[in-house]
Symmetry: C3
Subunit: 266 residues, 3 copies
């Protein structure tokens, strides 16, 4: 990725232009912020419960799929299996967000099963990526993190094993396909004090990948856009209620120029 | 409806006075905004999962019922069937919001089934009303729209066929019982950039119908109140995060005088 | 409780320091505000659907459990039973929030069953506490209230019968273990115009109880912190959309000094 600023800016423009339809199979806590963040960015969110309807949507008009394991149930796992099969059959990119994997057995087993189903991107915090890659990480909950740099090696291994691009989010966001690594130092710690910001980033990644030249570019773009929006929101408010509102505003008001001037590619 | 301004203003006052209890069987994405919008308007929202509890609520204290198909599941369809039967048995008005009908088979079949169950009002965007009426519309997702004027004829046909009042929402909101048509040119495009504004309008319609002299009056009132609130919110903020917050504020601060001065009946 | 101000202030500091992990099994409407309020206060929210995962979480790292019956389903009742058993087996405190008990039969029976399972705290409005204690209260919906003072005697009886501390919320919040009573006159009526403020208070109570010296202290602390935060939020905004945002900000910006200066122990 020669010029990260251009990739990120170009991806934003494409989302605005194409308004990709993202089927977000996500946890019940973050559905509102996920849908609102996709809308603010210019994408078109769809959330469904029924497996047949998910397959039908992917087969007719779906641009991308998000699979987020936050409040996984047995029946939702079946829906996700069906949606992933449909996405793969039609070449629709899909993103795995393995929330709290390594902490709870059911989702850990299901996430391992999904790793063989060719996700385009895997997005997680350091503890989740370490756990998926087989390291003995002990995540404490969906909001807890160790430093994202601690999971770069694990991310590379996971990328090589699965063929997915791995996006490790944290103070610095790392994107790797197992060979190259892109990193962005944008964002703010306040993003971890609002529920669903990380999960929404998984949905944004799905939108970006559906319009970008490659999954690596899409994952990098989502990290860049989210990080810059988070910084702008924190400049508007240092408390989490108002911050969450301003974050949506920042997505809506984002421009390629803002991205180019603020992006900290490291 | 001789004087639309009076009908809309009077309906707001009645909601404030009677605080109708609205059982909102709605999709999981929009539950928070739906409940908050009803509370801000002066109504009392209730959301339940269990079919027996829904029937019991309708039989004891329910003023109105909303049936929104956004994240329809097989078990939710059973709950909705039971709730609709109970509502009809007791003369409790109910509103059908057939989200994304025409796009997905399961909900399309279920919506057609519900059409025979005498909804008081059917609220949808143009694509949804066209699809329900049997036209070959191709909606792309819950947020997408074609011009609402394109569905007025279909709305009239649907009203005549079902006995329901049809509310077609869009740049102009149309209300029809198959004979007369009322139309309001209020609202703002930003309302489509916040998830759940349309779905909340379905719940507001249920509240309005429960206190109005007739379903036509109630549907017109909900269109008028929502449109004026949307305009006020947009004057306070042109970005969707803040806009959504100001929309709730506008409902709470709405008065008959504001409605009378701003309503654009066309 | 000799010095209520010190207990409330100290509990806030402990939440910030220990960041207790609260498993909130709560209704689908209030999940976002509940998670955000816990995060803003300094606690770590977790929401799960699967019973085995709930048990596993409690067995490994759960600090407290909330059981809120707002959108109770048959399968969720099973999950709650399993979670409560696990919590009791490990000495993890749990809070029962019996939303709309007395109004609907299924949840009323389930709440009575749970009363024998040794909840640490029962939080409800006056109508709910009266119904649980066997009085013939007729609550109209989750947001409706009669005066909280009308339920103090019932709360004492319920506390003696169950061994739980009872927190009756309303214009005045009462905490009782059946013998002593603490009362706080903070808060504002606007808190009833935002969906999930009461339910979030149940989750906050769970967080407080997990770090306090006793359930009575924890329940008192949650009433005090919530009431003061509500007053601050209302000073920032008198309309419910903005009020809800400012409420989260107030939790984040709360200090022991603010609590000591504003707490109205009566």
């Amino acid at each position: 990725m020669k010029n990260p600023e251009s990739v990120v800016a170009e991806t934003l423009l494409r989302i605005r232009e194409k308004s990709p339809l993202v089927l977000a199979l996500t946890n019940s806590v973050v559905q509102p912020i996920t849908a609102n963040l996709l809308l603010a960015a210019g994408a078109a969110p769809v959330m469904l419960d029924d497996a047949e309807e998910c397959v039908e949507l992917i087969n007719t008009c779906g641009s991308a799929l998000l699979v987020n394991l936050g409040t996984l149930s047995r029946s939702q796992a079946e829906t996700m299996r069906a949606a992933v099969r449909a996405a793969n059959a039609r070449g629709v990119p899909w993103v795995l967000d393995p929330v709290a994997v390594g902490l709870l057995s059911f989702r850990t087993g299901f996430a391992q099963e999904l790793l063989s189903q060719k996700p385009s991107v895997i997005r997680g915090n350091a503890a989740e990526i370490l756990a998926l890659a087989g390291y003995d990480a002990k995540p404490r909950g969906p909001e807890s993190t160790c430093g994202s740099d601690s999971a770069v090696v694990a991310g590379k291994e996971l990328a090589i094993r699965t063929g997915a691009v791995v996006l490790v989010t944290g103070e610095i966001d790392y994107v790797t396909d197992g060979v190259g690594v892109a990193a962005f130092a944008n964002g703010h710690e306040m993003m971890t004090r609002v529920t669903g910001v990380g999960c929404s980033m998984g949905a944004l990644t799905a939108a970006c990948v559906s319009v970008a030249d490659c999954p690596f570019c899409g994952a990098a773009a989502s990290a860049g856009i989210m990080g810059v929006a988070g910084e702008i929101a924190f400049e508007k408010s240092e408390a989490p209620g108002t911050f969450a509102v301003k974050l949506l505003d920042a997505f809506y008001e984002m421009t390629p120029e803002i991205l180019r001037s603020r992006l900290k590619s490291v």
